[in-house]
Symmetry: C2
Amino acid sequence: MTKWVYSFGDGKAEGESAMRNLLGGKGANLAEMSNLGLPVPPGFTITTEVCTAYYDNYQTYPDGLKDEVKAALEQVGAITGRGFGDSEKPLLVSVRSGARASMPGMMDTVLNLGLNDETVDALARDADDERFAYDSYRRFITMYSNVVLGVEHHAFEEALDRYKDEKGFSLDTELDAEDWKTLIQTYKKIVREEHGSDFPQGAEDQLWGAIGAVFDSWMIPRAKKYRELNAIPESWGTAVNVQAMVFGNMGDTSATGVAFTRNPSTGESALYGEFLINAQGEDVVAGIRTPQDITEKARLEAKSEKPSMEKAMPDSFAELTRIYGILEKHYRDMQDMEFTIENGKLWMLQTRNGKRTAKAALRIAVELAGEGLISKEEAIRRIEPGSLDQLLHPMIDPDAERTVIATGLPASPGAAVGEIVFNSEDAEAARKAERKCILVRIETSPEDIHGMHAAEGILTTRGGMTSHAAVVARGMGKPCVSGVGSIRIDYKAQTLTVGGKTLKAGDKLTIDGSTGQVIEGEVRMMEPELSGEFAALMEWADAYRTMKVRTNADTPTDARTARNFGAEGIGLCRTEHMFFEGDRIVAVREMILADDAEGRKAALAKIEPYQTDDFVELFMIMSGLPVTIRLLDPPLHEFLPHGDEDVREFAETVGVPEERIRARLKELKETNPMLGFRGCRLAIAYPEIAEMQARAILKAAAKAAEETSKPVTPEIMVPLVFTKAEFDIVKAAIDREAKKLGDTVAYQVGTMIELPRAALRSGEIAESAEFFSYGTNDLTQTALGISRDDAGTFLGAYTKAGIIPADPFVTIDRDGVGELVRISAERGRAKRQGIKLGICGEHGGDPASIAFCQEVGLDYVSCSPFRVPIARLAAAQAALGDGGKDG
Amino acid sequence: MTKWVYSFGDGKAEGESAMRNLLGGKGANLAEMSNLGLPVPPGFTITTEVCTAYYDNYQTYPDGLKDEVKAALEQVGAITGRGFGDSEKPLLVSVRSGARASMPGMMDTVLNLGLNDETVDALARDADDERFAYDSYRRFITMYSNVVLGVEHHAFEEALDRYKDEKGFSLDTELDAEDWKTLIQTYKKIVREEHGSDFPQGAEDQLWGAIGAVFDSWMIPRAKKYRELNAIPESWGTAVNVQAMVFGNMGDTSATGVAFTRNPSTGESALYGEFLINAQGEDVVAGIRTPQDITEKARLEAKSEKPSMEKAMPDSFAELTRIYGILEKHYRDMQDMEFTIENGKLWMLQTRNGKRTAKAALRIAVELAGEGLISKEEAIRRIEPGSLDQLLHPMIDPDAERTVIATGLPASPGAAVGEIVFNSEDAEAARKAERKCILVRIETSPEDIHGMHAAEGILTTRGGMTSHAAVVARGMGKPCVSGVGSIRIDYKAQTLTVGGKTLKAGDKLTIDGSTGQVIEGEVRMMEPELSGEFAALMEWADAYRTMKVRTNADTPTDARTARNFGAEGIGLCRTEHMFFEGDRIVAVREMILADDAEGRKAALAKIEPYQTDDFVELFMIMSGLPVTIRLLDPPLHEFLPHGDEDVREFAETVGVPEERIRARLKELKETNPMLGFRGCRLAIAYPEIAEMQARAILKAAAKAAEETSKPVTPEIMVPLVFTKAEFDIVKAAIDREAKKLGDTVAYQVGTMIELPRAALRSGEIAESAEFFSYGTNDLTQTALGISRDDAGTFLGAYTKAGIIPADPFVTIDRDGVGELVRISAERGRAKRQGIKLGICGEHGGDPASIAFCQEVGLDYVSCSPFRVPIARLAAAQAALGDGGKDG
């Protein structure tokens, strides 16, 4: 027969912390503390299986449950020397929910259960404190009526306020036992009116009412929503913990509090927390009274005049210190504890691994490893790689006030403050005038690169997590909030409007790229500082990981940033960004407007020296590390001027009729540019472009090798291949150029696998290609048929509705895109043993995707510079796998 | 040791027709005819392996070849009683190339080889005809110098003309032996001057010169180009045939001719051909003299006054008739024969399966089967399915003159004549005025459907074989030429310009959608007529095929046409086309402009009755056959007015501010609409659309079933699914509507597999989906990353350069898209045994793709109405497979 109830208390327990799935987090840890001999009020846990059975059977309880609860209650009574519902020595209990994972939104707690018109007197007698007893009773009625009977809180509050007004009281503490008695009558009347029947007097009725309320709260909309957002299965269910009451409100030798074994903000190894004398648990949370510090040190730092627990209750403080040591050693992690002191005796009500900031997590993990409590592997596993982002970017001071006027997608982390500008020219002008600015655009295009460089941060009203703005901003490490659909931009008026509010160019704006918030005005910022713990953890991670971490970098700044963050080469250098810089965009446009190969060659000849210098600089920065350079990829129309004004200006600059530019624009216009004339299709139609780039790369490699005395082996990458023949044509052109240059530089030619067909034909392609780099952005677009520029209209709704588990542009779609990568890797390796495999899509910086890369056995991941540390840690975690995980 | 030379003649041969790969087509058939005991001048074939060896070894001949040739020549000498180079009884030979496949562009023939200053006299003595001998010699010098030595033909022609002028001759026949002798001296001088050395006198030098010329011609650009276009591997090589000369130019008892065993234009079973008395083979081809008919019947029909061979040479005619009977029985196909009559004796120089028109092919195949010469299976195999197109559409009279002003893609077969109109409104106006017109557009959009209906044919200057214009035109069975890049359209001026020529609206234009030609003015047309043979062959095909053939039909007209062509249901009804018709486009736009679900529902309520009627009509026409209806698929912006004028007009019509329409247009604008907010994404965002369609389908099915007394089981198809969850949501909505209607109609819900991820996840999707239809158009776009609207810029170059074997939108890409279909079919069947599988992309009407569908085991193919007969035949051929193929 299934056991439904697990008892604990008196230095022993039927459960233990490993039984979290059955007993919930709270129940498992109460059992564990009992087993450790710590002072835990006795009680029992009704298992999560009861919850499941309850819902499987039309909200009825399984057979035997009532008997087991009764027996368990009797055992608690035996330990405490009291009886549940007993009119002489009544046993009062708390009833708390406790799911496997912490779940806000559900019914939380009912305290003082078991009180009724009879037992309240017994409690008064027993405690020799009538006010305490009736205070407890009115608390119980309020709480129970609210969470179990569904009577609104404010009904009781209004009655209380009215009473205080009548009596001329201002504080609750001014009410005495008689006052509470009077009010209790009023409360009972309220219950009768609102609920339709009397407040239950039977202790057993009360108990089953509370248990039912906990189970019912598992299915309320808020709880469902939370589970949906956090991918918690409904089938897990919640447990219910019933525990003998201990009273923190029994006068000045009683108290209640919460404490952390280490500082959850900084990670400092010191007891940290607060407590309230003569109070029950909910008073700490309610914030009616200001709690006191636990340690004297904290009191001094906070300049508080209220005594610390260390001073006020030295015995209890010593006991808490003893227990904290035991718990941290036992759980090998920072603990978040709840306790109550009843007449000088300390009782533990809860312990769990404490939540902490990224900074604290890092320090705690490294120090626990230093203290020998956990291994280095475990320290590596303890840090959520994505959380490192908080440490690398400026952030808004968490204590600062924010006037959030809109929320978009958290497209590139970090926060920025500046004046609003609506175009890239103004951004550059502001930069020159040393004024900080935020570039606000409907969307950005490659022509905005210089403006994005100049701005502190970028805000767009269209586009998703992988829109142009988002991708480029992440590459630059600049904060970006994208797709803020609620903001309307009027370029002409130079204003933005949101929720009836209009801001104009020059107004101050703050954006938080980590949360997607757009904030009016200037908010206080915090600059990032990288601690010694950060360096230590990164070093450990590097020792364990098996995949290399490269960076996607197009500029020397990117490359240097990435090197500082530990990048081991460049996995993707997009040469198109170079084409927009300075004067060369003019030559690029001349090339596009040329009528024949000769004209194109003449224009390319102007670009070649710049391009060569670009590569020399990158190779020098990378100093012998591998550098993958992708040949020109985007459709040519991206390089032409588009607006009437721009066309006119460019026509004047180069002395070409406007008509000609417009005609070419028309020719190059595409219905679906993503699937158009780009990638190696350009190299095949206009081989002179690829030839120029190949020459520039090879010459630069030779020069950099000479200057650094380190051999440079560039990896030339052919984009958008779907069949071997395309690759062969482009490779042949590259090889010809190398031959013309005397074959002096070793180089590799490989391809991006970014189309489903390329993934399927990887066997053949690997006959010629020396490496593959998975371009999972485009592979996602094509495999799922989703344009990332347009996905905003439905993708959010898709993830929200659970149609897909996550944004496939953020975390790789294992079942679709992932299978294509797997097939490709298998077929590629079968044909060319040990072929170098990497990933250079946005997924290269996403921990969940990095774990997938490890499974498939890629050689490296490549990500934007600011994600390099994240990738290093994620790669280490992926290499360590789940085996031996002890968290 | 490899045998390089195969002899034939004198009633026997070393080769046979089955050795076509080794001996080439001509050589194999010469051997076969010898074996059959037919009169073939003796000779030998130098194998194709010699050609391969020649190129593998830097253009040198393999060891032993010279000896084998010598021995073979001696054998020919022995049979003819002559000696090669002999000055008394010289053996003269012809040297002809002969590849495995007929290959225009290569060196063809050298006749009279072996003649020189000495042997010419012997020939004169032997024939007792000096003029004949010198005529032969001058022919030989001209031909050899031209094809072997590379001396331009006109040099000789000019000398001949000059000589005739001097002598006052007008015809060649006026020249006597002495004249030829004088000219031969001039010819030799020309050779010396042009070629740099004397005309070779040694017979053996002549022979090896000619053999070398044949092999060398295998690699000339024209030959390479032809192979490229016809997918003939270079490795096949050509054979060389050396054969004793027989002379048709030995006076009036000699002649030469070509004959077909059946009429190659009509297929009529009657000897058909022409001949020339006292002539050599090249004279027939050269067209200097008008040839005479072979049969008396033909002479009478042609009203020729020159006697037929039947009358003029009755013995030879009888012999030819005898041989024709033998050959046709032997080869079991219509033969194309070459013969020469030397002094009354008929010699066969060649036989091969004759080329024929589609109409003739059909009649011949059916009649051969009727005669018991071939089986029905063989008759089915003999017809190229694509050739049926010629029979189903009007075509340009092949004898009519054409002034081709441009050539585009043959996007939809058939020809059309009409006056030029530049927009759909003008097309409709012309139609109303009963004037035929050709709709000329840069590209078409769904708004042009009514104009396309009104026009006789469509011409676009942009877009490929699967552009909107092409797809819709094929669906309508209207001729279309697409992507005519050389034509510039000026909508404002109402003109089109091409090659310096300007045509204006109202000018007559003819387009040939079978060839892609655009022709100025009005050209004579021929209407299609479907023969009894067509019906017979279709019936046989139906008996053998295992796949069903359905049609893609959106309108009653399409559905009726397809039914007439034998369609067995509708595989794809695109409901979006219905949304454009008549007044309902106004309601559709109201729906798109609505602010909320209620507004959309109100607009949809107006559309529902129309939509229901649409479906009733389709179900009635299909009378119980399966009908697959796809839910609304295209992005919503396609339905909104776009041009300023249209927006203004629509705004006035419905009384909505222009601004609102523009705003919505902006909202719906997409960078890559192909990968955007469409397909089931619409159904998920706006369930009311799918609900309305489901109701209309189910109500219509009930009504049609009642009226026809045949059960209608509609197949409702959810488009653009990439994950099961999407499908489930839409299916649930459909099921809900069915329930509301009382679940009175049986229906199936399935999905289009048109995204790579859907193909990969087919196992899961098949858990819910009752059928799959492969949308290989979109699957090709996504798997290869090619937008079919934009592919024109590079796809042509890709097929031309052999990067891909064929346009992947025409013939399915087996290696990429094909593998996805295979994977999907396997996984789908593994989960749902016997799941119904079909194809509804353009590939469903392409024979090569249909063969693929058979391999994968699809249940049906669906294609545009006019391709239904092609698909029926192709499906039969696919079912028959290659086994037992005897052609």
